[in-house]
């Protein structure tokens, strides 16, 4: 029954794919990338069809029935994190700035151990489908779910626009497809995966893509190292000979120099990870806390390995692509910008076949990441808002239907906004998503899990403060106020406000909670012991016999 719309969607994609824009724009004119990409789409639509027949209840739709193993979930988490933005962006930063690109790698990885040590176990034992479940066990459901859903939706939509605009641009360069068609393609495929296959399909799409990205990256790395007799030292020597800054590129410098900004950027990277809803949601897809911990181990190992790859690929591109006239435009800049460094390197290292393969993997990466984001946004709408706030007695079928409508609505909104933001530099949107994660969701979740005295009014004050400051500071800061809106001076001098917004959110929550002497506050504090024992033991957790 579900197969027909899937087949129709596949046919639609086939029709849309042949290059529409001038092929001269495309990095590769060959059909290799298209062939690899069609193979990926066929395989993932097959997975979606298989998953659709296993997706009936809300439990299946949101968390794949809680039957994902630790290894599978670890790969999927790693997949969520290894977006095209981080693969192409971090290799591009290392290509352009050398050593300083490493801050993103180390900061990005450091979030994972923290999620494991402080959050994963308690979250798994307390929650059901979204992190708001864990927070509302003892706090008032309606206002807190509205807050959590706002934080989640703001983060998801910002991240989604960032990914979609990046996707459109990338596909335009790689495949020579028109921007609007590329964005429409990503939107359509993503809606098919999520609507029909729910979390099971989304997870498997993410796993397939993670395996492809890690093996493709490894292949490029091995081929590059082979050219330098497998000596990192020889690679660095060759790289420093090409870069304008010479050996200084192997030491810190240039990219970020002001300690406050650097710390604030680190805060956004580390704690934003612990507050992004599509990542928190993954802890509910495993059966118990033991598997939740194992999944973080696999995720950390894969992400660590991934960053080592991006590091070598970045310096490899510096050695082999920089200064190569084949990849420079008339002004001597890299064709397609620094973000294309990894793609050009694949061409140098493995010829047109590897170039086609890596291009297809990047397209697949974007698809998989936007699917996960959309699913978490849809669950915030249907589970946190519709089911818990507006229609507490809705039936299973009704909720699955609402989730599917929410998916389509989010998909359409994302496509429209991506068209609207086409010519904007959207890097700040992703930064804003991390900042909102770090200053709304993370403080709320952390205090609810760890601090007995947190009350509903405190949590609301802190959350709203964090949200307003995070969005406000970015809009009034140098990136948006000056670069996008064209004013002369920024009102807020800092580019990365996560540190202030997060601290304000924590202090707002703490001060108001301590001042709260109401009867409800007393009841909420009294509820902490039961929540604490459940968090520690998993007794009474969803999916375990009570």
């Amino acid at each position: 029954m579900l197969f027909r719309p899937l087949a129709a969607a596949a046919a639609l994609v086939l029709l849309l794919l042949p290059p529409a824009a001038s092929a001269a724009e495309a990095v590769n004119s060959g059909g290799v990338a298209i062939t690899f990409f069609l193979a990926f789409v066929t395989a993932t639509l097959g997975v979606t069809w298989w998953a659709a027949r296993r997706t009936h209840s809300t439990h299946d739709f949101y968390v794949a029935g809680g039957r994902i193993s630790g290894l599978q979930n670890g790969l999927a988490i790693a997949g969520d994190f290894m977006s095209a933005a981080s693969f192409l962006g971090v290799t591009g930063l290392i290509f352009g700035f050398g050593f300083d690109g490493l801050i993103y790698a180390v900061g990005g990885l450091a979030g994972w151990p923290l999620v494991l040590f402080l959050l994963s176990e308690r979250l798994k034992n307390l929650g059901k489908y979204t992190f708001a479940d864990a927070v509302t066990l003892r706090l008032a459901a309606t206002p807190i779910r509205c807050l959590a859903a706002s934080g989640s939706l703001v983060a998801v939509v910002l991240y989604l626009i960032g990914q979609m605009v990046g996707a459109g641009k990338l596909i335009q360069i790689l495949f020579g497809i028109d921007y609007a068609v590329a964005v429409g393609c990503v939107g359509t495929l993503m809606m098919v995966y999520v609507c029909f296959g729910g979390m099971l399909a989304t997870t498997w799409v993410q796993i397939i893509k993670a395996v492809l990205l890690l093996s493709g990256g490894s292949l490029v790395t091995v081929l590059v190292l082979a050219q330098f007799n497998f000596s990192l030292d020889q690679l660095f020597v060759a790289a420093t000979q090409q870069h304008a800054r010479g050996v200084a590129v192997l030491a810190p410098g240039g990219l970020v120099h002001d300690p406050v900004s650097v710390l604030s950027l680190g805060t956004a990277l580390v704690f934003g990870t612990a507050g992004l809803p599509h990542i928190l949601m993954r802890f509910f897809t495993v059966p118990n806390a033991r598997e939740a911990r194992r999944s973080v181990f696999f995720a950390t190992a894969f992400i660590g390995y991934f960053y080592v790859l991006t590091f070598i690929i970045g310096f490899g591109a510096m050695a082999l692509v920089m200064g190569n006239p084949q990849f420079a435009d008339a002004t001597g800049r890299l064709l397609g910008g620094d973000n294309m460094a990894a793609i050009h390197l694949a061409h140098v290292a493995g010829g047109p076949v590897l170039l086609g393969f890596m291009s297809a993997v990047c397209f697949a990466t974007i698809l998989a990441v936007v699917s996960g984001l959309t699913l978490s946004g849809a669950s915030a709408i249907s589970h946190d808002l519709y089911a818990s706030v507006f229609h507490p007695h809705a039936s299973e079928q009704e909720l699955v239907r609402v989730s599917r409508y929410a998916t389509i609505a989010l998909g359409v909104v994302a496509v429209l906004l991506a068209l609207l933001f086409e010519s904007q530099n959207v890097a700040y949107l992703v930064l804003m998503a991390f900042t909102v994660g770090a200053s709304v969701n993370f403080p709320l979740l952390f205090l609810a899990l760890y601090w007995r005295h947190l009350t509903t009014s405190g949590a609301l004050t802190g959350g709203v403060l964090g949200l307003v400051l995070a969005v406000g500071c970015i809009v009034l800061g140098p990136t948006v106020w000056v670069e996008v809106l064209g004013h002369a001076e920024p009102i807020v001098p800092y580019k990365y406000p996560a540190l202030f917004a997060m601290c304000a959110s924590f202090s707002g929550s703490i001060v108001v909670s301590l001042l709260d002497r109401s009867e409800r506050a007393a009841r909420e504090r009294a509820g902490f012991n039961a929540q604490y024992i459940r968090a520690q033991t998993g007794l009474g957790a969803e999916g375990t016999p009570a």
Partner: protein
């Protein structure tokens, strides 16, 4: 369920478990945060501050790899090892102890564990 929770809360082994697991998580989290902050600050204060100056020096005479790069790559390995150690303890001894505590409490109220 409230009765089981009360029994567990009275069990000294539960408090021992959560104290030891909490100490482990916070120690490891502290190591991660300290390492990350140090790394990021050394990058920001290079080359003025004394604690950051050696970052641009080669790890050995004639090598191209600098201390900063070697430390950055070592951090990745360190984080993975810390995670591995936590999983080893948490999925091993702590999980076993937790199961005993829960089973005893369930038996005391007459439910089969």
């Amino acid at each position: 369920m409230q009765q089981v929770y009360r029994l567990i809360f009275k069990d000294p082994r539960f408090h021992d478990l959560q104290r030891r697991r909490g100490r482990l998580s916070w120690t490891l989290a502290g190591i991660v945060i300290a390492n990350d902050t140090w790394y990021v600050l050394a990058t920001a204060f290079y080359p003025e501050a004394a604690f950051a100056r050696f970052w641009g020096l080669p790890v050995s005479e004639g090598a191209a790899i600098t201390w900063g790069i070697a430390i950055g790559l070592a951090q990745t390995v360190l984080f993975i090892l810390l995670v591995l150690y936590y999983i080893y303890r948490a999925n091993g001894e702590f999980e076993t102890l937790k199961e005993v505590v829960v089973a005893d409490a369930l038996r005391a109220v007459g439910t089969q564990p």
